[in-house]
């Protein structure tokens, strides 16, 4: 079957498609979340060094992964929007930013809640923590820049440039624990090396990461639908839709 992808690049056709996809991703997110929480709390053993406090890993690491992944995906959409002058791509970038910022904040706060009992400090200016804080500022900067420019197409272009320049920070976060001596522990999972943690711990972490992935897709689709409605407020398809579907639920 040949799919005409360009058909879906117009907000008018993508809006209902996104609406159909949201419940499925929400369902997957809930399923992975229940399984992930069960493994995290009922199955995964106590850590021999950190006791039960290590269980923070099951939200901290997936949140930190998502904070970086979302940034790269956001920058890719923004770059695509810039290169092809495609408004839907720019809207996707805009829809991802707040979710990325939330996961960055969660990674920082849960890290702090883990650092206090283990290191004795809520915060240290080490390379991993500092570069993750810069990531939060990049997200906030992107959102502030976009909302400060009235013309949405110009806002898209300015935001895209900021997003693309900021990508340089992502490998810095990822490799910070290798490049510098940090208080933060090394990577939980290394490519090309056998995992050092118990299999059930790893499974719990991966399930939670999958749940966060699915959640992110569902929420980003919800937000991109809002952005479409707001930006195309005067377009006929939005007016017709608003009369036809007044509750706006989903």
């Amino acid at each position: 079957m040949k799919i005409n992808w360009f058909k879906y690049s117009s907000p008018q056709t993508f809006y209902p498609l996104a609406g159909k996809m949201i419940p499925w991703f929400a369902l997957l997110a809930a399923g992975f979340m229940v399984a992930g929480l069960y493994i995290s709390f009922a199955i995964a053993p106590t850590d021999f060094q950190q006791g039960e406090a290590y269980r923070i890993i099951f939200v901290h690491v997936p949140a930190a992964w998502m904070s970086m992944v979302i940034y790269v995906v956001m920058a890719a959409w923004a770059g695509l929007g810039l290169a092809l002058n495609a408004r839907l791509s720019a809207m996707m970038a805009q829809a991802l930013a707040p979710t990325g910022a939330i996961f960055t904040l969660l990674a920082l706060v849960t890290g702090s809640l883990w650092g206090k009992p283990m290191w004795g400090a809520w915060w240290v200016w080490d390379a991993r923590l500092t570069s993750e804080l810069i990531l939060l500022f990049l997200y906030l900067g992107f959102m502030a820049l976009q909302s400060s420019i009235d013309d949405p197409r110009r806002a898209d272009r300015a935001g895209a440039l900021l997003a693309l320049v900021g990508v340089v920070n992502v490998p810095i976060i990822y490799f910070s624990v290798k490049w510098w001596n940090t208080l933060h522990q090394g990577s939980s999972i290394n490519m090309g090396a056998a995992p050092k943690m118990a299999a059930t711990m790893l499974l719990g972490m991966l399930l939670m990461a999958l749940a966060f992935w699915m959640y992110t897709i569902a929420v980003a689709l919800m937000r991109v639908r809002c952005i479409m409605l707001e930006r195309e407020r005067t377009a006929d398809w939005v007016k017709e839709l608003s009369v036809k579907e007044p509750s706006g639920v989903r």
Partner: protein
């Protein structure tokens, strides 16, 4: 099962505050984000409906 009792589970080996704060905040943020987006969508549709009726 890792836990001798429910109270042992809630106590989290003495780290209850740190563990439950982390998970609680994460779930709270997610719930808030979803509710906020639903509200935003309803408001956007309401405004468009007003525009359509003009």
């Amino acid at each position: 099962m890792q836990w001798a009792s429910w109270s042992a589970f809630f106590n989290m080996g003495g780290y209850a505050f740190y563990v439950w704060f982390s998970f609680g905040l994460t779930l709270l943020c997610m719930a808030w984000e979803v509710l906020a987006l639903r509200k935003r969508s309803t408001q956007a549709l309401r405004l468009s409906r007003l525009l359509a009726q003009e």
